[in-house]
């Protein structure tokens, strides 16, 4: 097991290097750089910038250098000093920016994950056990509905409804009075009161696919003869269901669980923008749109690393859960 782990970790090194290069290349793909983007967006607002200021910034950001030099400098900073560079747009170290937003992002992601699982598992199981029943059709329909609605549209409409009919303060995760307040029970309650909207919106799409996966997996398993064996032993239906097919149907699930966190961080980006949530998603999108190089690249790195680690975690979990894999 330990050897397996070590080997996997070894494999990760070239992957990470490749990812860092790709991350850097992705942000170089669009034409222009941070400065030209900034000048253009300033001009769009009727604002302008002095040529000397532009040159000063170019120097400050090191944008005049060749791309590979920029890349090597960036990597050097990361490896030697753990320094991911500065965000141009925020004038701050990237790490500081990310950390300041990660806590709430994780709260949101975990809440969404929890929501998705709590909703999807029972429905998925029900849907499989009662295949082609009214309930199955209904669950399927609701699930697909969540899948089919563009999230950003749903977010906007929910927000408008919250404003129009509930007179609620919109956007963000806190009411104005708690925005910058220190943590207290009141603030936690306020957070929870705001959290459900994004959680539901982010959850809908995930729930749908999870229901489908659960249902499909379980249907496969339910038809396996070992279920009949168990039934012939006199096991009660529900116990049988959970001990055998559900447990096995979870395997494909577990194999993707490692991907969930990075997906929730980046997947919620569009919704977070619409809802103006202080999470990492909007930071990422904005960094990409502004070509805020180091912020975007570090971000992509972070997400990719999370994916790679997540995959590893999944594989370990899977090996732990499924003896067939463990024995290989």
């Amino acid at each position: 097991m330990l050897q397996f782990l070590l080997r996997r970790l070894m494999f990760m090194i070239p992957t990470l290097i490749a990812i860092s290069i790709v991350a850097f290349v992705i942000i170089q793909l669009p034409p222009g750089d941070f400065l030209t983007t900034m000048v253009a967006s300033m001009a769009a607002q009727g604002e302008d910038m002095d040529q000397s200021a532009m040159r000063a910034l170019e120097e400050q950001y090191g944008l005049g250098q060749p791309v590979h030099i920029q890349y090597l400098k960036w990597m050097q900073g990361i490896i030697l000093r753990g320094d991911f560079g500065d965000s141009f747009g925020w004038n701050k170290p990237v790490a500081e920016l990310l950390w300041s937003r990660l806590a709430l992002t994780f709260v949101l992601s975990l809440a969404s994950l929890l929501f998705v699982w709590v909703v999807a598992f029972p429905i998925g199981i029900y849907s499989a056990v009662k295949q082609y029943s009214i309930g199955d059709y209904f669950a399927t329909f609701i699930g697909f509905l969540g899948l089919a609605t563009p999230n950003f549209l749903l977010a906007l409409i929910l927000m408008y409804i919250a404003f129009k009919f509930f007179n609620q303060s919109v956007g963000g995760l806190f009411s104005p009075e708690y925005q910058e307040a220190p943590w207290s029970w009141g603030r936690v309650a306020d957070l929870l009161a705001h959290l459900w909207v994004p959680v539901v919106i982010i959850g809908t799409a995930g729930t749908a696919s999870l229901i489908r996966v659960m249902r499909a997996n379980l249907l496969d398993e339910l038809r396996k003869p070992y279920v009949v064996t168990a039934r012939a032993k006199g096991l009660p239906e529900w116990r049988l269901l959970f001990k055998y097919p559900v447990r096995i149907a979870l395997n494909p699930f577990v194999s993707t669980v490692g991907w969930v966190l990075p997906t929730l961080v980046s997947g919620a980006a569009i919704v977070s923008i619409v809802l103006s949530l202080p999470t990492t998603g909007p930071l990422l999108i904005r960094a990409l749109l502004q070509q805020d190089m180091y912020l975007a690249a570090s971000f992509i790195m972070l997400l990719s690393i999370l994916t790679v680690i997540g995959t590893l975690v999944s594989d370990l979990l899977l090996a732990w859960l499924d003896p067939r894999i463990r024995m290989e």
């Binding site: 992957t15 490749a18 990812i19 790709v22 991350a23 290349v25 992705i26 942000i27 793909l29 669009p30 034409p31 082609y132 059709y137 399927t140 329909f141 697909f144 509905l145 899948l147 089919a148 609605t149 563009p150 950003f152 549209l153 906007l156 409409i157 408008y160 129009k164 489908r212 499909a216 249907l219 496969d220 038809r223 991907w259 990075p262 980046s266 997947g267 980006a269 569009i270 990422l284 999108i285 990409l288 749109l289 975007a296 971000f299 992509i300 997400l303 990719s304 994916t307 790679v308 995959t311």
Partner: protein, 387 residues
């Protein structure tokens, strides 16, 4: 005597066990597609989904004829005009008479709020006809026509069955035109994914070993790159001096760039399990070339599965297109897609004062739902365990 007896036995007779096998095999082989069809028919939602999908694609084909006008026609006096209800019968002295019409608008300008206020004018009647002559268009770029399924009989008085957008463009026409782009993006993207997925997944699964390892690592790598940045990077990198049509293809390629990895995994899995099956072995031993083996023997054996997977990935592509549009990286006018329309409606002004502009969202919803149900039904039908 026994010998002659034996010789007179009918040639088709075999042992009961063999007969069993034959019966089973003839049932399953002869009508695999038929069995699928039976199975599929059982799934009512899938049937409905299939029919709706069909209708949507038919609309996509006959866009020019079906839409009352072309999506780019700007009319100054009809900015943000609300939908007009279509009446089929008109009240006359002799009772109700078949004569489709809509009521016109009374328009006032509100300079402070900077808008036109529209009131449906019961007095004013705009005649609506079927198969009317209207704007000329080129059907499929082949011949010119000016026949429209439905439209105003008076060129001066346009009708807005689904209302107008901020520049007085007809939403219904825009949506119909958008159908072609959005639905074909899904289809095209899926075929690209399909091609890549089959090719690479097939190679990976068929040869195994180093090749497999290499391709698997590559897939893992691509999947570990976050989707949105990848899309954004690629979409922003499209040279924008490309004509709209080429941009459209570019975006399709980008969207399918990620989709193929999932398909490749499925295909690989199938290949791996099929590789050891007797009939493939037999084909190989027979000296069939590997490509022939793949295409003639292996692909057909899981084709139904692939079709189901494909159907299920079309909605993802449609949604991806709308997401890209949301980020202002997708298609742009003069190309009209549902994503473009949604992006234009993605603001409070539309939600608050022109909710009809959200109808394209409904179109996305219906299309995605239909395709999902269809795919779901196909998958259930193709499922070998599910006989």
């Amino acid at each position: 005597m026994a010998v002659t007896d034996a010789k007179t036995l009918p040639p088709e007779t075999v042992s009961p066990r063999a007969a069993d096998a034959e019966i089973e095999s003839s049932v399953s082989v002869a009508s695999q597609w038929q069995l699928m069809w039976w199975k599929f028919r059982k799934h009512r939602a899938a049937m409905v989904g299939g029919v709706v999908t069909l209708i949507i694609y038919v609309i996509a084909i006959f866009v020019e004829f079906l839409s009352p006008s072309s999506p780019g026609v700007i009319r100054a006096d009809y900015t943000w005009a609300p939908p007009q209800q279509l009446h089929f019968f008109r009240q006359t002295e002799n009772g109700m008479r078949w004569d489709p019409y809509v009521n016109g608008y009374k328009v006032e300008i509100d300079p402070e709020a900077l808008r036109r206020t529209f009131v449906i004018d019961e007095e004013q009647i705009v005649d609506v006809g079927f198969f009317v002559r209207g704007e000329t268009y080129e059907m499929w770029g082949l011949w010119e026509s000016d026949l429209h399924l439905i439209g105003s009989t008076d060129a001066e008085l346009p009708v807005y069955f689904l209302g107008a957008d901020r520049m007085g463009r007809d939403l219904l026409s825009s949506m119909i035109y958008g159908t072609r782009v959005s639905m074909s993006i899904g289809l095209l993207g899926v075929f690209l994914s399909f091609f890549l997925g089959i090719l690479l997944g097939g190679i990976s699964g068929f040869y195994g070993g180093t090749v497999d390892n290499l391709i698997q690592r590559a897939i893992e790598f691509i999947r570990s790159i976050p989707t949105i940045p990848l899309w954004m990077g690629l979409a922003a990198a499209l040279p924008t001096d490309w004509p709209p049509l080429r941009i459209y293809f570019g975006i399709t390629i980008i969207i399918s760039f990620i989709g193929w990895t999932g398909l490749a995994r499925v295909v690989r899995g199938r290949f791996l399990s099929l590789r050891t099956e007797d009939f493939v072995m037999a084909a190989r031993l027979d000296g069939a070339s590997e490509l022939t083996t793949i295409w003639r023997h292996m692909v057909p054996s899981f084709f139904s599965h692939i079709i189901a997977s494909l159907t299920l990935s079309i909605p993802g592509m449609i949604l991806a297109e709308t997401s890209l549009s949301f980020l202002e990286l997708g298609l742009r006018r003069p190309v009209v897609s549902w994503g473009v329309l949604l992006q234009e409606a993605q603001n409070i002004r539309s939600v608050a004062t022109a909710s009809w502009l959200l109808i394209p969202g409904l179109a996305v919803l219906v299309a995605v739902l239909a395709l999902n149900f269809l795919g779901d039904g196909l998958r259930d039908a193709a499922d070998p365990y599910n006989r």
